[in-house]
Symmetry: C2
Subunit: 345 residues, 2 copies
Amino acid sequence: MTSSPKHKITLYDIARLTGTSKSTVSRVLMNATDVAEPTRQKILDAMAQHGYTPSRFARGLAGGRSGMVAVVLPGMYSGYYAEVLKGIAVAAHQRGVRLITSIAHGPDEYFGLVAEYAEPGRADGVILVSPAAEVLRRKAPPSPVPFVMVSARPVGRDDSWGRMDTVTVDNEGGMAEVLDHLREQGCRRLVHLAGPAGNYDAVARRRAFDSYCSRHGLAGQVQSAGDTNADAIREVRELMRHKSVPVDGIVAFNDDFAIAVVRHLREQGVRLPGALAVTGCDDEHAAGLIDLTTLHMPMVELGEEAARLLLDRLDGRRAGLSTRHVMLNMTLVVRASSFFKCHIN
Amino acid sequence: MTSSPKHKITLYDIARLTGTSKSTVSRVLMNATDVAEPTRQKILDAMAQHGYTPSRFARGLAGGRSGMVAVVLPGMYSGYYAEVLKGIAVAAHQRGVRLITSIAHGPDEYFGLVAEYAEPGRADGVILVSPAAEVLRRKAPPSPVPFVMVSARPVGRDDSWGRMDTVTVDNEGGMAEVLDHLREQGCRRLVHLAGPAGNYDAVARRRAFDSYCSRHGLAGQVQSAGDTNADAIREVRELMRHKSVPVDGIVAFNDDFAIAVVRHLREQGVRLPGALAVTGCDDEHAAGLIDLTTLHMPMVELGEEAARLLLDRLDGRRAGLSTRHVMLNMTLVVRASSFFKCHIN
DNA sequence: CTGAAAGCGCTTACAG
DNA sequence: CTGAAAGCGCTTACAG
């Protein structure tokens, strides 16, 4: 039964209440092993009884762990970031860790936030979600706290960001699944509607598309779609207009692009599905609604895994261990949009 | 030009560097007025030059403002919460305030988080997003920090939660817009697929539906849809099966329900749009994709407004001011789904 | 208008 | 195994 104290109850109160000292109470808080079992129990009981929760600020200031992890996001559009954040939040919460969440507007602000949290005494660790290439081009601020990167990986080898754990998705394998599927459907003239050049996944998928096509002797063309759906539509319009030999498959960087393309083509009177195949990536809610064939992106798992990597390191379970790079699979979800009339099976 | 200091540069360093004292530096940090202008400038310059950012932990501990605001969310599904959070983040960031974001799983955890942040020294203020009725039924923990509530309002008058600022949406007006529209379409036998009983907006919309129908002599029936889309579909199935006189309009609590209904009816061979009208609420991305008539919910604005209310209070601009209740309008977005064949215009 | 001192609630060597 | 003391980086009366 938690009594509701008028005034904040502190570590010192617990010490007084149990006839011990601040040092000892702090030790059981820190899970130190060198505390006599009866003493520990007495203190634990008192803490529970009075609903004591240590001040994260004080712990942070004193040099211990604040129990706070910073998360930097490059925006909050397209469900994707919300889901990743959710994964991080779930995993962190399970371990009693709170999140300092920042949404950056543009690479400069993103980098500024990274620099802020890199300083000692701001957070126990930092999770960087989808940092743009512009961010990773700059020199990483030296930092005493561990960083984990989600959906991105520094390019260079001896790069300043190189020591971070990363969690990414197998873009190569995912793209291969998509293209295998389209080939089975009979598609031969493919276009990849590529995502923003600063986006890690976009670059990886583009490269994967190219290499797959040349490996399999496919006529694969890459079209940069720009940053917005409107850009994507414009590109597709150009594409369809100037083609002598018709394109029979469009592989979009993500679901948003794919959906924009499908809607546009239908408005133009193109029969879909059937006239050509369209695929997306992410498997957002909307993808199911319009029967879009897409690669399922494990968004929540990306977040969970990132939090796990960071917290394991913080807990000392992996203190001195080498850098980890976790890669998650994407799985193909076949729906109607990838149906192609020239199906030869 | 920001030099990159090896070791964290502190307030004391700035004092030494400028030949002043910690007190004075602190004063300019706190925007105190009683600092000589030349002194202030000198200190400001030094801070800028060395890229000094005060420790939020230390400030919080010392009794000043930590520059951190806690946000409690009841989950992270359906874009809605992500958008509200985005609004909060944008407004907070503009004022240099960081967010401690927590996602609660269930009312108990939600309440636990509220209690945690209600204690002194955890955050400068707290924003409660959509607290469920189960949460508001309990006694609010007394707290020295200001709270703001989004998308909910305590029921009782002298209620323990009653002193909080709130930001809500005009459910009454929104529902009236929807129903006016449906009546114009010729709909007469309406069903409201109501949301969870613990949800403030759901309860408000249900009440608004009832009162509108009785006010206009409409045959309006309320059907509790449960918490999930599957529940909603089940209810609709029951509804359609046992109706002697056919329903000609379904007013869903939100877009998710509405979309589930539309899909289900189409699978059952019901001609939509045309056979009956369906409307949603929220105006999520998906609503546009399936041409759903819906009420546009100003999600980002809800968040922005909440942050503004809280920060204004913190800045002392509205220190002793009375509690504020801000209500935002929802606007009707007419699309194809509300088309009804018996259109009599 | 400015500085010296105490204190916020913790952790961390240092003794014992 | 335990306690006294110093210190983390700030703010806030209190003097001057």
